[in-house]
């Protein structure tokens, strides 16, 4: 009875949201505050109902109600509680309901923004609600999470063991907040096209939403990468897998948008470009959501695919991307732009160049992801595109982005006035040259290692230099906490934090890509493996029972210079119920890098094959992403328009 209630709630929400769409379109010409009030109430109801229905689904998972198809297919009574809950979105239907829940939440929160002019606000809510209705229809007609089974099974089939991990509890929700959050800027853009209302205020109101979505997306992608790193046991953190690319493309476009919208906050220029980016960012999110679902591309995320839903997916993509783009082609020329009046060396120019490189980088990833598909469709030839392709295309395109990221914040809006600009550049070059030489002397690696490492130093120095000069300009003495906060409120600290994040990230990438070492050995219990100053002693190997798996666990002791460091326990887990196996690498992380140990095949007689990686600075990759996300959130709290030069 309870699951039916959940189903009915989804149906009611579908009806209400569809009515809301009609109401919005009917009143499009005569929008006033009363229309907005009605739409606001609708959004609240939608949000509450979907929330209730999501709670009901979660309840069914917690109580292991196997009369529900997705519960019996994806859960098991023996599963730990946390994985029963995260199992709700560990499958196609449940994850779509989560998607819709987040969408309705965003719709509700943006609808409360009375400070947006009511004509625009009505259309923003309207567009959000159209997307909501489309997805609710998709759920109801093709992917009903509340479908019952004909015959009650004795127990569930369990969840894919790879997904039984704390990483899964967080990775999809964060990613979805990112994906869905971009719907708000999309709706801002479409609403602007529909109403013709665009102003600096439009840009100001929109930017926090982009920043929130962008930060969540950053965290979501980083969590996915971290999870792949420790769970898949290959020692890598990014594989240029189609699904990774699918989440990376909206991120890149959103990054471009986040920068571009700041120009529009100052002056009504590049309106069309900003609108186009807003539409594209969410379009890539939709593409990302559906690439995982459609089974079009082979990837490690193929657990969720079902080609039969393809047609419906195409319809949704067609409406939500096609209609705005058609509108764009009709309406975009009607906006009146101001004249830019900025110097060649100015913040405006720098942001345009940033946008050029970021969109080209997105295009590269898009080509790399979809090319095999198109080639196959055109002449039946099959190609594979691996990391080597992206190293040769994506990396050189992003290099100038990082290069400019260090110096662009020095520039002022409109005018080239900073007399210290050249001085700063010389200082930056000197520090980078010094750092690069040091890097070269420590350990000589390829030229790419040198470029990548030097870029990180370059950026790091750039951000610090900028921060110091901002402190000087602000003319505040930083002697106590109060003054520090006053200063932080005066500059846009989010930019610095996010850019430092990129520098940290790049340092991590340099360490992981160019300075990592790998050892493959076959050892028996009692053997000692020597790696540089470290040594690993193989203590024992034994069978251990987990809650829903049997584990073969080896124990090693790690010594450095004959001093005890830590125990390492790599595992191979056999999930009896799901009949599959996972490798649990033993990872010892510290500030300077990871020791990563994987237990392979073997037996007592011949010994066990072991893979040992030494990954310098690898955790900086995710630390960097974390800083970027924090920077994004901090930038929300700042109203950049209050101060001219920040």
């Amino acid at each position: 009875m309870i699951p039916e209630l959940g189903h009915i709630l989804v149906i009611i929400t579908f009806v209400i949201s569809t009515m809301q769409c009609c109401y919005w379109l009917y009143n499009l010409r005569y929008t006033n505050i009363d229309v907005v009030r009605v739409l606001q109430k609708g959004s609240l109801i939608n949000f509450l109902f979907i929330f209730l229905s999501f709670l009901i689904l979660t309840y069914s998972f917690i109580t292991s109600d196997f009369s529900l198809l997705i519960v019996s297919n994806n859960s098991h009574t023996l599963k730990p509680l946390i994985y029963k809950i995260s199992g709700v979105w560990g499958n196609h239907e449940g994850s779509l309901l989560l998607w819709v829940l987040i969408l309705s939440a965003f719709t509700f929160f943006v609808s409360l923004k009375d400070s947006i002019n009511s004509k625009l606000l009505a259309s923003i809510i309207g567009v959000q609600t159209v997307i909501l209705s489309l997805f609710l229809a998709f759920i109801l007609f093709t992917s009903n999470p509340f479908e019952r089974v004909d015959e009650l099974p004795l127990d569930g089939r369990g969840l894919n063991p790879l997904l039984q991990d704390p990483g899964l509890a967080l990775h999809p929700p964060m990613l979805y907040i990112g994906y869905v959050g971009l719907s708000v800027s999309f709706s801002f853009a479409v609403a602007a096209l529909v109403t013709g209302e665009i102003s600096k205020d439009w840009a100001r109101q929109m930017r926090p939403w982009i920043a929130i979505a962008w930060s969540a997306l950053t965290i979501g992608i980083a969590l996915g990468s971290w999870w792949a790193y420790y769970e898949l046991g290959w020692g890598g953190w990014w594989f240029w897998d189609p699904v990774e690319n699918a989440s990376f493309m909206p991120w890149l476009i959103a990054t471009a948008l986040l920068h571009c919208v700041r120009i529009l906050e100052k002056k009504l220029i590049f309106i069309n470009w900003t609108i186009l980016l807003s539409i594209l960012a969410f379009s890539f999110s939709l593409l990302g959501t559906f690439i995982v679902r459609s089974g079009l591309l082979t990837s490690v995320h193929a657990f969720a695919s079902d080609p039969s839903r393809g047609v419906f997916i195409l319809i949704i993509l067609g409406i939500s991307i096609g209609v705005p783009l058609i509108l764009y082609s009709i309406k975009s020329s009607s906006f009146n732009e101001e004249k830019g009046n900025f110097d060649i060396v100015s913040k405006e120019s720098a942001i345009l160049v940033n946008n050029l490189f970021l969109t080209t980088a997105t295009l590269t990833v898009l080509i790399g992801t979809l090319y095999p598909l198109f080639l196959d469709a055109i002449n039946g030839n099959k190609v594979s595109i691996g990391p080597a392709y992206y190293n040769a295309t994506f990396a050189p395109i992003m290099t100038p982005v990082v290069f400019l990221m260090a110096i662009a914040p020095f520039l002022n809006w409109k005018k080239y006035t900073d007399k210290n600009f050249i001085k700063k550049l010389i200082f930056l070059s000197a520090v980078t040259l010094l750092g690069g030489t040091l890097l070269y002397l420590i350990e000589e690696k390829s030229i790419f290692a040198l470029i990548s490492g030097s870029l990180s130093i370059w950026l790091f120095t750039g951000v610090i230099t900028d921060l110091i000069s901002k402190i000087r300009e602000a003319k505040v003495k930083l002697q106590n906490i109060k003054q520090l906060f006053f200063f932080i409120s005066k500059i846009n600290i989010g930019i610095h934090v996010a850019h430092i994040g990129v520098a940290i990230f790049l340092a991590g990438v340099t360490g992981e890509q160019f300075y990592k070492s790998e050892y493959n050995v076959i050892k028996k219990v009692g053997d000692i493996i020597n790696i540089g100053t470290k040594s690993l002693k193989f203590d024992k190997i034994e069978n251990i029972d987990g809650p829903n798996y049997n584990s073969l666990m080896a124990t090693f002791t790690l010594y450095e210079n004959n001093k005890f460091i830590s125990k390492l326990r790599p595992e191979k887990r056999f999930y009896t119920n799901e009949k599959s196996q996972t490798t649990e690498a033993a990872i010892l992380s510290d500030f300077w890098g990871d020791t990563y140990l994987v237990l392979g095949e073997g037996d007592k007689k011949t010994g066990w094959s072991l893979r040992i990686y030494s990954n310098p600075l690898v955790s900086w990759i995710w630390a960097g992403a974390f800083f970027m996300a924090v920077g994004g959130i901090l930038s929300v709290t700042q109203k950049s328009s209050r101060f001219r030069n920040v």
Binding site: W234, G236, F239, D241, P242, I269, T298, S299, V300, A302, K339, G340, N341, F342, D343, I344, E348, S349, L352, V353, L356, F357, T359, T360, L363, T364, I367, G368, Y371, L375, N379, N381, K382, V383, S384, I385, G386, P387, A388, Y389, A392, T393, I397, G600, E601
Partner: protein, 132 residues
């Protein structure tokens, strides 16, 4: 035995067996070299039965067989290019994770840079036209 004798014995030993030692050292070096080369090639070869993995990462039977095959060919002194060519002939372009440049992939390799060049021209024009 005094220390002097010990040194003489070691040196004469080294003298008589220096050739053998050299060969032994060389064989270890070769072995490492072959291992590295095998891994390098393996990273660029797709595992055909897996989901988007290279044979280096994969534990499947096919991947193991291919790794052994590559190793044997390297020991036989066959060059990297010839090994790639051999695998490509047998399994098609699909097996190469770094797609070769040919008519099929010309857009793949050049489109990003073409867009970058045209984009640069466009951006330059926009910046110019917005000057005071």
């Amino acid at each position: 035995m005094t220390r002097k004798y010990k040194i003489i014995i070691i040196f004469s030993f080294l003298f008589f067996f220096s050739n053998e030692l050299e060969i032994f050292a060389k064989s270890i070096n070769d072995e490492l070299d072959i291992n590295n080369k095998t891994r390098e090639i393996s990273q660029n070869i797709r595992c055909l039965v897996c989901q988007n993995q290279s044979i280096d990462e994969s534990n499947s039977e096919l991947a193991k067989d291919l790794k052994i095959l590559i190793r044997e060919k390297l020991i036989a002194g066959i060059s990297n290019e010839e090994i790639y060519g051999y695998l490509r002939e047998r399994y098609g372009d699909y097996i190469l994770l770094k797609p070769p440049l040919n008519l099929n992939t010309i857009l793949l390799w050049f489109l990003p840079f073409i867009v970058l060049i045209f984009g640069s021209i466009l951006i330059f024009k926009i910046i110019k036209s917005n000057q005071k």
